[in-house]
Amino acid sequence: MHMATSELRGSSLKLTRIESVSPDATVRHVDQLETETLDTFYAAVEGNRPITAAEMGLDAGDVIVGTEYYRVDLM
């Protein structure tokens, strides 16, 4: 299901706030993210800025549970 990381590396991702999660989603809690990924995640949440896949260490479709639920989407 997930694209190969190499395909994604150059592409930009964004976080989309979601209200519900589909049963087949990959869901992670913020405490499962590496320190740097966590930083990027919060910067993206705050600034709403796009992030590159390589920077993020996340796959499109992943759901991250922070103060809200966010889905990682391709721009």
């Binding site: 049963p23 869901v27 405490d31 549970v65």
Partner: protein
């Protein structure tokens, strides 16, 4: 062929099994758990209890995960004792198992309040997926709640009550939530978060006893002041008792946790321990310490496995733990050992932003960030570098922390 036995299929045991298979392709590996399901995401079960997350994404491993790796998984198997001389693990009704190297990764069990009726129906403790299912089902039908335990696990019950529309009182013994790590300023932000979701913090309180109806269901908590708080739902999270009863007589050194060195070795040959239940030698802190977090448990399992497979002290555990609270509008992160140390610095930046840094011998050993988590990378880096920075608190308390502003480290 070496036989590795792992007791516990939480994140520490499971991560050890995965690493052992990578490092020892030919070994026999057995994982024993008394739960009825393989590894799941313990830090997401609160989201299930809140009614926000379905069951499926919480599961991490299917049974097929173990089959693919040729790892023997024994579900519903309770270990009753270990003979460390004969190197045998005894189970309740699944026979005995010989091992060459053993990993104890059995975590803890929530402690019950030592008061009357603390085992009444409707009073919940929270550790397993099964607990979460029960909490969710009951919370959906409940109107009034009481929460006990002013720490990181108690606040999850507050969030469940908030999300499930239960009007709840959060009974705390002291004058604030998590008083060992937060000052009044920091705690006030958390109290605001609780009130926003409909949970009222009650201070200088606690529980003297619970009252029940004729069917044995909880109806109220009465605090030591004699004040009565009606509830049809109660959540108790006053601490963990580590699951080590089965080690009685095994000769392992314990001190409210299993003592291990930085390689996760116990004092008994070929017995290792990992996860919540260890009191490990923290190389950054320079003394024995404990962590109760997912990332740390996962890393301890990995480190134990590396050293078990190498039959040597191949890699040491060096880790800055972190623990988030995501239930409110603002983020919260506790890192390292925020309740330890001999000095601290703190500042409030706004109604939802606060920071505290704990120091020991001039070095950062932990802290708490509320509202703005951006300094976490810098603080964790300073911890790993073990830099003496307590004399430069102003730089560390700047809203935006710039490590270049720190005076260069003096040559010792």
């Amino acid at each position: 062929m070496t036989h590795y036995v792992i007791i516990g299929d939480g994140i520490s045991g499971s991560s050890a099994a995965e690493t052992l298979r990578e490092k020892a392709p030919d070994a026999t590996i057995t994982v024993i758990t008394d739960e009825g399901e393989p590894l799941y995401n313990r830090i997401l079960i609160k989201e299930h209890a809140k009614g926000k997350l379905p069951e499926a994404p919480i599961s991490i491993h299917e049974e097929g995960w173990y089959e693919e790796r040729d790892i023997e998984l024994s579900l519903n198997t309770h270990v009753t004792s270990v003979d460390t001389d004969a190197k045998v693990v005894h189970t309740h009704d699944s026979g005995d198992l010989e091992y060459d190297k053993l990993l104890v990764a059995t975590g803890g069990t929530p402690t019950q309040l030592p008061v009357d009726n603390s085992d009444a129906d409707g009073i919940h403790h929270f550790w397993t997926f099964e607990d979460a299912r029960g909490i969710r089902e009951h919370a959906e039908q409940s109107d009034t709640g009481v929460i006990v335990g002013a720490g990181l696990l108690g606040i999850d019950f507050a969030a469940v009550c908030g999300a499930q529309g239960i009007e709840a009182n959060y009974l705390m013994r002291g004058d604030r939530w998590w008083r060992y790590a937060l000052s009044a300023d920091g705690a006030e932000i958390m109290h605001g978060g609780m009130r926003d979701v409909g949970v009222e913090p009650v201070f200088d309180s606690g529980v003297d006893h619970f009252e029940t109806d004729d069917d044995g269901h909880v109806t109220a908590a009465v605090d030591p002041n004699g004040d009565r708080y009606e509830c049809d739902f109660a959540g108790v999270a006053i601490g963990l008792s580590f699951n080590t009863e089965f080690l009685r007589g095994a000769g392992l050194e314990e001190d409210n946790g299993i003592m291990v060195d930085e390689y996760m070795q116990t004092n008994v040959d070929d017995v290792y321990a990992a996860g919540d239940l260890t009191r490990f030698y923290d190389v950054l802190l320079g003394e024995q310490a404990q962590n109760g977090s997912w990332g740390s448990a996962k890393e301890q399992g990995r480190i134990a496995a590396v050293n078990m497979a190498a039959d040597d002290e191949a890699e040491q555990f060096e880790w800055v733990s972190s623990y988030s609270i995501t239930h409110f509008d603002f983020p919260f992160l506790s890192f390292g050992h925020p309740t330890l140390g001999d000095d601290h610095a703190e500042r409030k930046y706004s109604d939802t932003e606060w920071r505290r840094i704990a120091f020991k011998d001039g070095k950062i050993v932990g802290g708490v960030l509320i509202g703005d988590l951006s300094p976490q990378t810098a603080f964790k880096q300073l911890m790993r570098e073990q830099r003496v920075v307590a004399d430069q608190k102003e730089v560390l308390l700047e809203q935006s922390v710039d490590l270049d502003e720190l005076a260069p480290t003096q040559e010792q």
